[in-house]
């Protein structure tokens, strides 16, 4: 979940509520679903919230939400914008990253805090909507350091988004004094190298030019020439990415934040060349696009979801207190509904239900009286789960301590330490389901049988009193092409008897009792298995069907697990008891 660092003094200033104490702010933020996680080293509040309201990724965004919450602001707010002077031309752009958007922002008066806030919101947008810059990357530049190329109409100024040979062009990147090629930046610039992976597969790298030359290498790094400082008053924002909607909305969120700092937003013209890749070839866009959208929300649906009755004025009031505008309308046969207008910074509203959630939050969900639903159904257990429980009860009655082990294990524990190999035609020898990027070397496959887990428990409990009669009913799995998932999953019944004097017969006696409890005829014809002592190993046959095996565990396996007592064991498929 996103966390933003917010200076409470700034929050008081931006909301216009000097009288709020830190505790007041924390309580008010909690009401919005924003949780105080602690104080940062710089005495800022660390605020965490769910990743839907990305418009709250800055102190300005959080202040806006609070002002609505306090009732200081109502309804949709759209800042005014000036007509475009600058043009962003997209020409021979890289196919992997075809889109660009942007804005010009004028009249900023940065101080240390507001500049830091600008940096933070960029980072947060990159981490969330921008998917670590893969989907959208932001570049913010000092406008006075840019010299526009002559626009297509002679009055305008333009910059050009294009693709370059990674070795042919040079520029001085941020945090460096050295002229480097884009490839050199990805290879040895301390910040550039972090994002090298995003361009690694590209033949030609993304680049943005003005009249003077290359000044930005998205999504990796900006040039030093246009670096923003506290003295910067006018900015050019450009965003490139793989999806126009995403970068347009990242731009909206950023522009709303800067506007809240008193800046004037000036639109830009985005001009895609006729042969530009992507879906906008030959089109001209006016950005940022602050147009609102509407959702039609049924009154009855609001009432049925929240579970209480509302009158029309209340719904409209709650919408306005959420920063939305609602207007009465009708759908179908005179059914009361609302046209709800959504501001351009809201990226989370996909469906009318999302508006209902806003209205519910404005009403206060915690004010609702819980009510047990008047719906009658018949409950019951699944057959497999009843069978499993019956078998477990029988084992417990036979004196076994029921265990619960992990289904994940590694090859060494599952195979090697039991003396078998994947693909062996013995119990446990199935080919294992393998995990692609395991977190831990201890858990790399799904177990093919339960005996290895039980042996591990014995191994870890040699200091505990014997006898240790352990049993487990749990999942085992192996590759099986005849299954839809390619995996045969089954429940296996594993049992071990470990104590100073124990033999095959002790295991056979318990297995007999288990089989008998389920009305199964038991036969145990001799067999061989590397994990068991030859001559003391048998197949478990229930009602004529092979179900598993039983035997005395081989001393080699016992010693391998650092045990000093003999172990007798059996393992069978749960479904054989059916």
């Amino acid at each position: 979940m996103p966390v933003v660092d917010v200076d409470p003094d700034e929050l008081r200033e931006l909301t216009g509520h000097d009288e709020k104490s830190d505790d007041d702010l924390r309580a008010d933020l909690f009401d919005l679903g924003i949780e105080f996680e602690g104080w940062s080293e710089d005495d800022e509040m660390q605020l965490e919230f769910a990743p839907d309201r990305l418009d709250r990724l800055s102190v300005e965004g959080i202040a806006r939400s609070l002002r609505y919450h306090y009732g200081d602001d109502r309804g949709v707010y759209v800042p005014s914008t000036n007509s475009p002077e600058w043009t962003l031309v997209a020409e021979q752009t890289p196919e992997e990253r075809p889109y660009i958007t942007g804005a010009v922002v004028r009249g900023l008066d940065f101080d240390e805090d507001s500049l830091e806030s600008l940096i933070q919101i960029q980072e947060k947008l990159h981490a969330t909507m921008g998917r670590q810059r893969a989907k959208g990357a932001i570049g913010v530049h000092d406008l006075t350091m840019l010299k526009g190329e002559a626009g297509r109409d002679s009055t305008g100024k333009s910059i050009r988004y294009t693709a370059v040979d990674p070795d042919e062009e040079t520029f001085v990147p941020l945090d460096s004094d050295e002229e480097m090629t884009p490839r050199e930046v990805t290879e040895r610039h301390h910040m550039g190298a972090d994002y090298a992976g995003l361009v690694a597969d590209m033949d030609r790298y993304p680049a943005i030019y003005d009249e003077i030359g290359l000044f930005s290498f998205p999504p990796v790094i900006n040039g030093r020439r246009t670096e923003v400082s506290e003295d910067s008053r006018d900015l050019l924002i450009e965003m490139t990415g793989t999806d126009q909607w995403t970068i347009d909305h990242m731009c909206n969120i950023l522009c709303y934040s800067l506007s809240a700092r008193g800046a004037q937003i000036e639109r830009v013209t985005v001009e895609y060349a006729e042969d530009a890749p992507g879906e906008h070839a030959g089109r001209t866009l006016d950005r940022p696009d602050f147009s609102t959208k509407t959702k039609t929300v049924s009154h009855e649906r609001i009432e049925s979801i929240v579970g209480v009755g509302f009158d029309e004025e209340t719904v409209i009031d709650f919408a306005e207190r959420s920063g939305l505008d609602a207007e009465r309308t009708e759908i179908g046969d005179d059914e009361l509904a609302y046209e709800v207008e959504i501001p351009p910074y809201r990226v989370d509203v996909l469906h009318p239900l999302d508006v209902i959630d806003d209205i519910g939050r404005a009403y206060g969900f915690n004010a609702l009286e819980p009510e047990y639903p008047d719906v009658s159904t018949v409950g019951g257990r699944h057959e497999r789960s009843r069978l499993e429980d019956a078998a477990r009860d029988a084992l417990v009655g036979l004196g076994f301590e029921d265990l619960l082990n992990f289904h994940m294990i590694n090859e060494e524990e599952n195979f090697e330490r039991l003396g078998i190999e994947p693909g062996d035609d013995v119990v446990g020898g199935g080919r294992p389901v393998t995990i692609a990027q395991p977190y831990s070397e201890a858990y790399t496959i799904l177990r093919t049988w339960a005996l290895p887990s039980l042996m591990m428990v014995l191994e870890n409990n040699t200091h505990r009193a014997y006898p240790q009669h352990l049993a487990e009913i749990g999942l085992a799995a192996e590759l099986d092409e005849s299954e839809n998932t390619g995996i045969a999953e089954h429940r296996t019944v594993g049992a071990v008897l470990a104590e100073a004097e124990v033999s095959y017969e002790d295991a056979r006696a318990r297995l007999q009792a288990l089989a008998g409890a389920f009305g199964k005829g038991l036969e145990t014809p001799p067999t061989e298995h590397p994990a068991f002592i030859p001559g003391r190993t048998a197949v478990v046959v229930l009602d004529g069907e092979t179900a598993g095996m039983i035997g005395e565990v081989h001393p080699e396996v016992i010693v391998e697990h650092d045990l000093e007592v003999p172990v007798a064991a059996f393992e069978l498929r749960l479904d054989a008891l059916r």
């Binding site: 009510e371 692609a436 409990n461």
Partner: protein, 516 residues
């Protein structure tokens, strides 16, 4: 008078004129000492004997102590060697003296430490100076060691060798021996027994032993012999041998309790694959394929096998469309790529909502006919860091209700009812965000013991973008909760690894108290 055999034996062996130790009585009467003690107390109850108790302290030598009896104390050997080398006049090299005294290993350190303590002299810069007067008397510790070895009284021996005033210090010498690990002191209770006048009278009148029986046998029952038998008394207060009963694992017990509660509330149980297509795990839940949650949750992807063979085409197409275009007249989709290959790739399920998706689609058990309630208590897998409260595998309690016009209040009422069954009251609902529910709520409950507010689950009403593609046209509200979290609340476990998995501690599992 008829008495049990052991009591008769004690009565006949004890004396009317002096107190005799019960251990001596037992030896003479050929009884176990515990049996004789038991008999003596029984006789005392009858007023036939009086029993006295006193505490006796004895000391035995350790191996090291025995060794010093034979070889002498190391510090004294060093002192003797020093005197022999003339160290009472001029300091002598320590190394030489150690050789002369035949000391090695730990004995060197022991010698040096005690040499200084006893004022035998000083050791400075590797040279030893000895005080000729210090050794004029025998060493008290040595005297005590020898006395213990010979079975003589330490205080008496000290008095004999060192003069009367040393007697008072015997306790100090013994403490010192114990500190040095040369002797072990133990305390024991000595009981003595003496006959009362009543006993003397009884003995004169004649006392005989009743027929005593150790074990009731089938023979005795059938023959009727038991009628004349006197049953030997057992020490019924003594602890018996420990046995380990068969027990159901505590987490299973908790799972079963949850299942009982849910079945009682009208829920049917679901089941389905642990390894499943991301389609059922994520795509059906309206999670965009590039959503950070798909990596944040760090689900285990499989390398072998890596794809499901087959998905229901119609459901796939509707899910794809919901992701790209949204659902409903003014619904919107995600601005994220959607690939069938990603949907078909296999993961270990990160939540059992994959089962809910399978059931809701009708793919698992056929079309559902609302109203319905379903649940599962099954394992889920997350590629996370193992720590006391997080496992790579844990159980998720999943539940949902499918009916017309469900509201947030119904959701709240269901959870309030469910959690009350586990003593967790005052459930609080915090509005939250999930890609697949709207509205969504995190559930917090008050810990019954600590009063702490803890997160107990996550819930919501499934989004249209999830339900429409699955062919569901009524409301479905759902929730998920970690079973282990509930277990820790109910039993107060602090480290879940002690309970679940191959690192489990059998003793801990054996010691778990029953909760019902």
């Amino acid at each position: 008078m008829k008495l049990p055999r052991a009591q008769v034996a004690v009565l006949k062996t004890a004396d009317a004129n002096e107190y005799r130790a019960i251990t001596d009585v037992a030896t003479e009467a050929d009884l176990q000492s515990e049996t004789a003690t038991g008999a003596a107390f029984a006789l005392a109850e009858e007023g036939l004997v009086t029993v006295t108790e006193e505490t006796d302290e004895s000391i035995t030598l350790t191996e090291e102590g025995e060794q010093y009896v034979a070889e002498g104390l190391p510090e004294r050997r060093l002192y003797d060697a020093a005197l022999a080398a003339g160290a009472d006049d001029d300091p002598v090299d320590l190394g030489t003296l150690i050789g002369d005294a035949g000391l090695d290993g730990d004995a060197v350190d022991i010698a040096l430490a005690n040499f200084a303590r006893k004022g035998y002299g000083t050791v400075d810069s590797g040279e030893v100076a000895a005080d000729p007067d210090a050794g004029s008397k025998p060493d008290a510790e040595r005297v005590a060691l020898e006395a213990i070895s010979e079975g003589e009284g330490v205080a008496d021996a000290l008095a004999a060798v060192l003069g009367d005033d040393s007697q008072t210090d015997a306790e100090g010498v013994l403490d010192q021996l114990e500190r040095r690990g040369l002797g072990d002191r133990t305390e024991s209770t000595i009981r003595r027994v003496q006959l009362t006048d009543d006993a003397v009278t009884a003995l004169m009148e004649g006392v005989e032993a009743a027929e005593e029986v150790d074990q009731l046998t089938p023979d005795m029952l059938t023959s009727g012999e038991w009628r004349d038998a006197e049953f030997a008394e057992y020490n019924v207060e003594a602890e018996a041998e420990e046995i380990t009963p068969g027990t159901e694992h505590v987490l299973r017990q908790t799972a079963n309790r949850v299942k009982d509660v849910l079945v009682g509330m009208g829920f049917q149980e679901m089941q389905g694959p642990h390894a499943d297509a991301q389609f059922w795990i994520n795509d059906c839940l309206f999670m965009p394929q590039d959503h950070p949650a798909r990596t944040h949750w760090d689900q285990f992807a499989l390398s072998e096998p890596d794809q499901i063979d087959d998905l229901p085409d119609d459901v796939v197409e509707r899910v794809r469309k919901a992701h790209l275009e949204g659902v409903g007249e003014d619904g919107e989709g995600y601005h994220s790529p959607w690939e069938l290959d990603v949907a078909k790739s296999l993961d270990l399920r990160g939540h059992t909502t994959s089962l809910s998706a399978r059931y809701l689609s009708g793919y698992q058990e056929g079309e559902l006919d609302p109203p319905e309630r379903y649940f599962s208590v099954e394992k889920v897998y997350r590629n996370d860091t193992l720590d006391p409260t997080h496992l790579l595998e844990f159980f998720q309690i999943e539940g949902w209700v499918m009916a017309e016009d469900l509201s947030v209040r119904d959701l709240m009422g269901t959870f309030t009812e469910f959690y009350e069954q586990f003593g967790i009251e005052d459930i609080e609902f915090k509005p939250h965000y999930n890609p697949y529910t709207e509205p969504s709520f995190e559930l917090f409950g008050t810990h019954p013991e600590t009063g702490e507010l803890v997160e107990v689950g996550n819930s919501g009403i499934f989004r249209q973008e999830m339900l429409d593609p699955l062919g569901v046209n009524v409301d479905v509200m759902a929730w998920g909760l970690s079973l282990e979290r509930l277990l820790m609340l109910m039993y107060g476990f602090e480290d879940i690894r002690d309970v679940h998995g191959t690192l489990c501690d059998l003793q801990l599992l054996r010691d778990v108290e029953v909760v019902y």
